[in-house]
Each structure stands twice: as C-alpha cells, then as structure tokens.
C-alpha cells in the first residue's frame, strides 16, 4: 500500500502530512461558466493552498457544485483559466484530484469489486490490489460488507464506499459535494471521521455543504458563493463570527437569499 494511504488507514500516524507537490497552488483566474445563455459563474477568481479544510457554502444555485465540477475538470470554463501549480490543468494533474458526489454512484458489483475497479483505473499494479482493498475496507469499516453487492448497501455505507474509493486514488485534493446531505447523524459522523482522517494525512479537503454545524465542525476556511460569484473567502472563525459580506450575513442569519 502507498504510504499516503497507510497514513489514512492508521489514525495514529495520520498526523504526518504528505508533502505538497505539483498541483499547488490551485488557482481560478476569472473563471466563468455559462449554459443556455445564462452565466452560472461570473469571473470567479480564487486560490487554494494545501493543508487547510475549505468549506464552500452558499444558497442553492450559487454555483457550489459547479465550482467542484470545474476544478475536477468535468466541465470546462467558458471563460478564464484554472491552473494547477502555475500550469493549465491537464489530465495528468487532475489525476491528483478526487471527487465524491452527493448521491453516491456505485458500480453494479460487490463492495470489494468496486474498490478493485478503482485501483485498476488508477493504475495500481495487480499484485498490490488485494492488500490495498483490505486497507481501504478497513478504513471505511466495510470489511463485513466486502462481498455484498454495493447497490444494496444503505446510503451511509454507499457514501463510505464512495469516499474510500476516492481515497484509493491517493489524491492531493479531495472534493466533496454535500456528501452527507441525505444521511442520518450516525452515518454523517462516520463520513466526517473519514474526512478528518484524510485531512490529517495531508489531503486537501474542499467540501460543499448546506449544514452550518458541519461547516463549523470541519472548516478551517470558508468560501461563500452567491449568484455565481465569490462573496467571501475567509477563515472559518471570521466567517461565522463576523462575515464581511451582506449576503453571508443574511445566509448565516437564516434569511432567504433571493
């Protein structure tokens, strides 16, 4: 097993962060995305550094999920550029980025076979896969479910599988799009624990959430999006105690942002 993943799989060793490599800083330069003649993000510029947990917040339609998809390369900006380590993002660099979706997508295979497939796609040599699968199953506390069809698992179990499958890529950046949106508190706690382990092992976390409590538990810094624009980028402490934008203040007070 790769050292990075070993750190994630063994909590005691999780504090040793991995060395930052070529994708940092991750920068968006005036990034816009339009569809159907409507601008969904408007000249978005930001800079992400490793070592912090970034939470993305904002009302529905603010462009949070879109931001993750742009960073992951699932959609291409209609304006501006995204650079990784100062260079335009390419496929090789993007292999250091993993994405977990709000609704877990699992293959029509067993839990272990889902992980085996991911390891094959990530180019892990065949001889190493069994060992890596065992470690990933342990990480996600999925050992007892290894042989079960992934699609019969509960939502929380499927999301744990999605998360450890993403970690199988040994990413430097883990993008999470509301991974606990439809989960109960117990399942949410398990996902948050996994996120915490990954972060402690040096994986940069960018998490979209609507859950203020979760944001306060996990965030080192907050990106607040409103109407496709970056309304605020500040430390979690500053954001929750003294938001600088009127939109963020209204959002935190529970007022409707139209």
């Amino acid at each position: 097993m790769h050292d990075g993943l070993q750190r994630q799989a063994v909590p005691q060793a999780a504090a040793a962060p991995r060395a930052a490599t070529g994708i940092w800083p991750l920068e968006l330069h005036d990034v816009s995305f339009a569809a159907g003649g409507k601008a969904l993000t408007d000249r978005l510029s930001l800079r992400l550094r490793p070592g912090t947990r970034t939470v993305v917040m904002g009302p529905n339609g603010a462009g949070k999920s879109l931001l993750l998809r742009l960073i992951a390369g699932l959609i291409q900006p209609t304006g501006g550029t995204i650079t990784l380590g100062g260079r335009p993002a390419d496929a090789a660099a993007r292999r250091r980025i993993a994405l977990v979706f709000q609704r877990p997508v699992v293959l029509r295979r067993s839990v272990a076979a889902n992980l085996r497939h991911a390891l094959a796609v990530y180019g892990v040599p065949r001889g190493e896969r069994a060992r890596r699968i065992d470690a990933l199953l342990a990480l996600g506390q999925l050992e007892a479910l290894a042989g079960r069809p992934a699609r019969v698992l509960s939502g929380g179990e499927q999301q744990r599988l999605s998360l450890v499958r993403a970690l199988a890529a040994e990413p430097e950046l883990l993008l999470l799009d509301e991974p606990t949106a439809s989960l109960d508190p117990q399942a949410t706690a398990a996902i948050e624990a996994l996120i915490g382990q990954a972060a402690a092992a040096g994986v940069k976390i960018v998490l979209v959430t609507h859950d203020r409590g979760q944001a306060q538990r996990l965030a080192d810094e907050v990106l607040f999006l409103h109407r496709g624009a970056l309304a605020e980028h500040s430390s979690a402490d500053a954001f929750f105690n003294k938001p600088s934008s009127a939109a963020a203040q209204a959002y935190l007070e529970g007022r409707l942002l139209l």
Partner: protein, 235 residues
C-alpha cells in the same frame, strides 16, 4: 384436422425415438446459431458500446444506419454472402459456400446489427449514470467501455437473446449459402421448409416443436439468470 393430429403424434414419437438424423440436424442448428451469435457479439458488443460512449462527427448517422440494419432482409444477406463466397466472388478462394461456415457468416451478419443497436441503447443508459464518476476517476475510453459492458452484462444477455431468436428461426439466408445439403448443411429451419414442401408434416412438426422448445429453454435460462442478478442488484 385428423392429419394434423396424426402429424403431432408422429412428431412426438420421432422426438422420443432419438432419431440419428434428427439429432444431427439439431446439433448443426445449434452449432451454427450459437457460433453466429458469438461472432456477432464479438463485433456488436464493443461496437455498440463505442457508439454509446463515443462523440464523433457522424455518430447519429452511424446509429441510424445500425438501427436500420436491424431489419436487413435475410434473403438479401444470403445473396450478398453468396456473391462474396461464390467461386467468382472475392472470397471464393476460401471455398466456404455450402458449408456451415458460410451459414455462420450469413447469420452473424444478420444478427450483428441487432446486437450492436441494442447494446448501444443499454450502454448509453448506463453511461448516463456512470459518466461523471468514470470521468472524475480519469478512466480512459477503453476502460470506460469495458466497465460499462461488464456492468451491463445481465441486460446484454437479453440483447444476445434477441440475436439468438433471430438466428435460431432464420431460413432465408442460410438456405441460399448453405444449400440445405443432407448431412452437411441441413438445419432445423431449412428441413422444416423442405419437409413441409414434400408433405412430410411429422418431421417438420417435430423439428418445429423442438425449435420452439429450445427457444423457450434458452429464454427461460437467461431470464432466470437475469432475475437472480436483479435481486442481487447486479442488473
């Protein structure tokens, strides 16, 4: 009606007797049909998946052509294969005309568009579900196709079944390229046609009953397998 009833009786007696000629005809039918479907799957499954996943100029035209080819008239295919394999044709040197191989080729040509078109539909539906995941994982095109084909395997069994149905009941093409030669290229459908024209209804009916029985058996097996897979959420 009396003749019809007697023919049924004789047909069952023939089936139960285990007649050597009958078994030979059934054996050749199954060999030709399953070989043709396997050949068509070898071409049609990856081609259908590539059409489902690929984005290239002319894709819609290609899909339309493949869909249209599902209705290929068997006699036209038979004629085309005959012209290719006849001694004056470009593949005449292979001397395959009036052999089971020629029948397999003709049936494979008939079945391949069915497999391709249905595979495209099945894989395209699954691709809609897996697309973002596989792209986020950085899966290459070939890995994506392999993943989709494997995960759609139980649905694709139904696709193969549709091809099998077409091949098993086919007569027009194989009678042209096979010639219905006794002990060489005589299969169930061509024998049914021949024996009916000769008025030998018992053999024709016996073969018809076996043909329908085989189709039911294969369908039952595949559907049973698919139901089990669906229960386990693999389909």
């Amino acid at each position: 009606m009396q003749d019809f009833g007697a023919a049924f009786g004789q047909a069952f007696a023939l089936i139960l007797s285990g007649d050597a000629d009958l078994l030979e005809i059934i054996g050749l039918s199954l060999r030709v049909t399953f070989s043709a479907v396997a050949l068509a799957c070898l071409v049609g499954l990856p081609l259908g998946a590539a059409l489902a996943v690929g984005r290239f100029p002319g894709r819609m035209a290609a899909v339309t052509v493949v869909n249209a080819l599902m209705g290929l008239p068997p006699v036209v295919v038979g004629l085309g294969v005959y012209l290719m394999l006849s001694s004056a044709g470009p593949l005449g040197v292979l001397q395959l005309l009036y052999t089971p191989s020629a029948m397999i080729i003709a049936q494979a040509i008939l079945v391949a568009p069915i497999i391709t078109a249905l595979t495209r539909q099945v894989v395209e539906d699954l691709h809609g579900e897996y697309d973002e995941l596989l792209r986020a994982m950085g899966a290459r095109r070939l890995a994506t196709i392999a993943t989709l084909l494997w995960d759609a395997r139980y649905s694709l069994m139904t696709t193969a079944l549709a091809g099998l149905g077409r091949a098993l009941g086919e007569v027009g093409a194989i009678i042209i390229v096979g010639g219905n030669i006794n002990h060489v290229t005589r299969v169930m459908t061509t024998t049914i046609a021949l024996e009916t024209s000769k008025g030998n209804l018992s053999l024709a009916l016996g073969l018809g009953i076996i043909l329908v029985g085989l189709a039911l058996l294969v369908n039952g097996l595949v559907m049973g397998l698919r139901s089990s897979a669906a229960r386990l959420a693999y389909a």
